[in-house]
Subunit: 254 residues, 2 copies
Amino acid sequence: MTEHKLENATGPETPAGAEILGFRPLYRQVKDQFVRRLMDGRWLPGMAIPSEGQLAGEIGVSQGTVRKALDELAAENLLVRRQGRGTFVAEHDEQRILFQFFKLVSDDGVARFPDSQVLDMVKATVDATERTALNLAAEAEVIRIRRIRSLGGKPLILETISLPALVFPGLADGPVPNNLYSLFATRYGITIANACERLKAVALKGDEAQLLGVATGTPALAIDRIALSLDGSAVERRLSLCLTEEAHYQSDLR
Amino acid sequence: MTEHKLENATGPETPAGAEILGFRPLYRQVKDQFVRRLMDGRWLPGMAIPSEGQLAGEIGVSQGTVRKALDELAAENLLVRRQGRGTFVAEHDEQRILFQFFKLVSDDGVARFPDSQVLDMVKATVDATERTALNLAAEAEVIRIRRIRSLGGKPLILETISLPALVFPGLADGPVPNNLYSLFATRYGITIANACERLKAVALKGDEAQLLGVATGTPALAIDRIALSLDGSAVERRLSLCLTEEAHYQSDLR
DNA sequence: TAGTGGTCTAGACCACACA
DNA sequence: GTGTGGTCTAGACCACTAA
């Protein structure tokens, strides 16, 4: 039943190859195997995966080892565990985006998902910052989307999204949904696993300010996000210019 | 040997009182007991705590249950586990602060601990925002510290710190160390467990700009931090105005 | 070599959801 | 009731550190 042989499956003696990377616990190998299932689409968003017992029997390890692997994946928001019901593949629904990726909150504390209005979408050759951010070749093409995001009808964010054209073929031909990550998942099988953001305070330039309906020079929060897929490769660069008169970026330090 | 009786210690039947709050796993009760030891100073920063086996025997639970409690505390950065050596109470050294609480990083990627130069320190009655942030009474007193923090000799942050005077008696009488949280721990036995930060982009006012050596109206990143102690009470409010020409706030979304 | 945390197992029982 | 994840136990063995 075992689909991939585990490093230690052949016997109790330490395998020669493992010495190079040091010790690799069994539950991590199991976890990697599960990540592979997520990447190749055998486990799809929203799906219930087999029970711990079934997985343990299938792979040939104890239920506790499977449990530890699943617990880590749940901690990384890739799986959702529900007592009494089962373990499910996390979806990129608005709830998750709001919880995991959208840190801009209205000052009254209510977290809402913003509307989007696309300004333009072009195919172009990468510029220097995009090349670095997305780790692309010199002449690679990107799809560049600009849009205004509003909260309660009020323009709040001017967003510029850069995507490698090779990774998202045909994306420039259709409409752009409000929830891009959900599209990445359903149409391209790409799961955004995590992201890192760099924040700066900047003064808005004339055109930026105009689009947001404020005066030139208004201070804005610039968020430079690089989103990583399951395999760790950068698949999106997103530059957000945010007005923070009535909203703030929430960061919890634990 | 058991110092505090556990909810389930008397027998296998469900205790009547537990029904109100719902089910409370044993390892959480054990964890709470450990947090109590951290709060009352029986476990001091830097100390090695007893081994898992000793704790298990002392409390009367299995080693696995103790382990789960310790693992959670380690995940919250309150303990540090070192294979082969033991489990230690986390210290508020520069390493930890840098890792856990200091998110402003120079653009070249090097994280350094900034110098501080105190501008003034006063005792005053709380203002409205401090009252809300620190959850204080109307006439309560705070210690207010203003200082400039520099990275590589360059002024970078104008910091205004508000502390409840009752919580930190005598603090206003002595010098202010660069690492405040270490002082809280060693002198007052207060551990900063976590914090939440609200970020906005603002334009610097005349006096603020002058202190940082830039022009009035220069955009700055305003970080409003509320730091919580082990028992969950707010013990510090810190407002930081940061220049982000050559530095950025790093936020990892996982 | 002794002691610590880390992994892995096997099995029992509990809390929860749903039919 | 049945099946799922969640807890708890007991014990064996592994990896690491320091004396």
